[in-house]
Symmetry: C2
Subunit: 373 residues, 2 copies
């Protein structure tokens, strides 16, 4: 895992994606690493900053990781407005293209700055990390600060992803403020578990935490569920909470049951088997495989049940033989339902150096008996 | 074509989709015609109103078409706000779920009301038709009336779809006001042709009508291009404009070259062969097949070149053997790249009684030597 990370995945991005002229990182890279679009994803400024800094902090003290991180860190201030709200995409030179209501840009910037502070010692990065978190958390607590996409009167759903991203972000930021983020993490665990029903870990539940029998209410995203499961399991491990770890194991079981198909994890399904909403529902995207690998490997480490080792080994064999590009490095992002490559791109606005290197960093820790939080 | 329309496609929707209690039409129907979601698409209130009224007006004077049309027509006023702006989706009883900046709901309501006026003689429907058109056209002419999704300074694209929908809507509404809509149709032909370049009929061009070498600028939607081609060809036929018909033929040629793959028409591609942006890029959606069938059949009728008859016959054979559900009727909407069924649904917010029945109505006209405008 360590070798694949440091000799294949990270070099692919370091060699092709860092913008030496304007700073920041490109992610629209084709199979060979050529840039096919200069639009920059703000999510990936924060995510790549996190990955390069985290790799540096994880003992791979390669100076070029820190250099790349600095080039991205210096570009971050261009990615938001005067109120600290960040954009979704910017031009090569950091001018706004699209701003969205969601605050994922801010949460990824928060983890990026936090890890960069730990790598560089730059106190300003610590301040920025908390600033970005606080903006995101204030919107999390007061959704009225943004215009809702759907009428809340007729579409009264609570979504899973805001609580998930807050838990994950708090799990990183507790490195700089244990008390504050331990409390927020505990709050988020409770919120996430409200989504866990007999139908699976639902993407959307009602205002009273009830199952709503509509296409939106029935939606499952198995990769998302498996990601949440390892967030929860790691939190249980951190707090020595056996009950929480067991619940996370149950989420893995039901998510594998819904999501495992043709050797990999599908993108979406309807929990009652009705038609899925997304066209790509049975495609195999790279990131759900990464989350499934982490969840099953961590679960095996903790519970020592062979089932999880078997799933892990099977998924590892399948993903490396189907997603890996042995010629140019890194993974393809999108396979058809039958495991053939659907798109040869290595990156776009949603795929860049995050899920795969994060998985490699975590699996290296788990396999070496280290805690992942 | 006529038999398939009247004995298969229209009955599928008439028997399963009309809401006898609240009025309007459902479109979230599974394979067997069961409703799996009650959210109503406002696009499809207008589109279904158009189809049932048009079928009635096209000589299939089945009273149940007019009855269904009336149930949908009566539901329309619930689908918009006090300013006449329509929603994108509503609850079963017509309360707003989502409102979008786009005005396609209004243009589909305009063609629905126009055709319903011609079917029923209800003068109020004629007034409504023009009202909906005027709202849409005022936004078309003044995009500043809505909040742009992308920063116009850094994302200065002109999109193809607004001019296409305006041409198509004007082609229907000229039945109630020839002079007004002939003029608008001519204006739109000029606008659409600006998108026609050596790379194909581009979805997005620059403010000076130039090709922009970015993922957005390079995007082709072959089904969209083929649809535009038959809009233009029909307009050329209507105005006896040979040059326009020839240009439409050239658009068909380049669109088939980009879009025809594995027996059907794909959803998207990059005009320079770089990675396509949409995950579903090589899926075969039902509607591009319908547009390709109309375009090639009309082109053959006008130019009598065997190539178009061959494409038409090949596509007809392929689509009816792959999209048709011989058990419950209607077509599946989404095939994988290899022609297998990706989703068994018959309808959703974007698929309902429109492209397939419109194709059947038009092919019946073309095969009987009638003008389609």
């Amino acid at each position: 895992m360590k070798q694949y990370l440091t000799e294949n995945v990270l070099p692919f991005w370091l060699n092709n994606a860092i913008d030496e002229e304007y700073g920041g990182i490109f992610t629209c890279l084709d199979e060979a690493g050529n840039i096919y679009g200069e639009e920059k994803s703000v999510w990936f400024q924060g995510r790549a900053l996190y990955i390069f800094s985290n790799a540096y902090n994880s003992g791979f003290k390669n100076k070029c990781y820190l250099d790349a991180a600095k080039k991205i860190y210096d570009f971050l201030p261009l990615c938001g407005d005067e109120n600290g709200r960040m954009y979704f995409t910017v031009t090569r030179d950091g001018k706004e293209i699209q701003k969205r209501r969601y605050y994922f840009s801010e949460t990824f910037a928060a983890i990026g700055c936090c890890e960069y502070y730990l790598a560089s010692g730059d106190e300003n990065a610590k301040v920025l990390s908390e600033k970005y978190f606080d903006i995101a958390y204030s919107i999390y607590c007061n959704p009225n600060l943004t215009t809702p996409k759907f009428n809340p009167e007729t579409s009264p759903y609570k979504a899973l992803s805001p609580s998930m991203i807050m838990l994950s972000t708090a799990q990183v930021l507790r490195q700089i403020n244990k008390e504050k983020y331990d409390k927020i993490a505990s709050e988020m665990v409770v919120k996430i578990l409200k989504h866990f029903t007999e139908y699976g870990l639902l993407e959307n539940i009602g205002q009273n935490d009830e199952f709503i029998d509509t296409p939106t209410g029935r939606t499952l995203n198995p990769g998302h569920s498996l990601e949440a499961a390892w967030f929860l399991m790691a939190e249980g491990q951190y707090k020595n909470d056996t009950d929480l770890m067991k619940k996370a194991k149950d989420i893995i079981d039901i998510s594998m049951q819904h999501g495992y198909r043709n050797g990999g994890i599908i993108a979406f399904c309807d929990c009652l088997g009705k038609p899925a909403g997304a066209l790509e529902w049975d495609m195999q995207l790279w990131w759900p495989q990464c989350e499934a690998l982490i969840a099953n490997r961590l679960c095996y480490e903790i519970f020592q049940e062979e089932k999880y080792l078997k799933w892990y080994e099977d998924l590892k064999e399948y993903t490396f033989s189907h997603f890996e590009d042995t010629e140019y490095g890194e993974w393809y992002g999108y396979l058809h339902y039958d495991g053939t490559v659907a798109n040869t791109l290595k990156g776009n606005i949603f795929k860049g150096p995050f899920h795969l290197p994060r998985m490699l960093l975590l699996l290296d820790k788990i396999e070496n008996g280290k805690s992942i939080l």
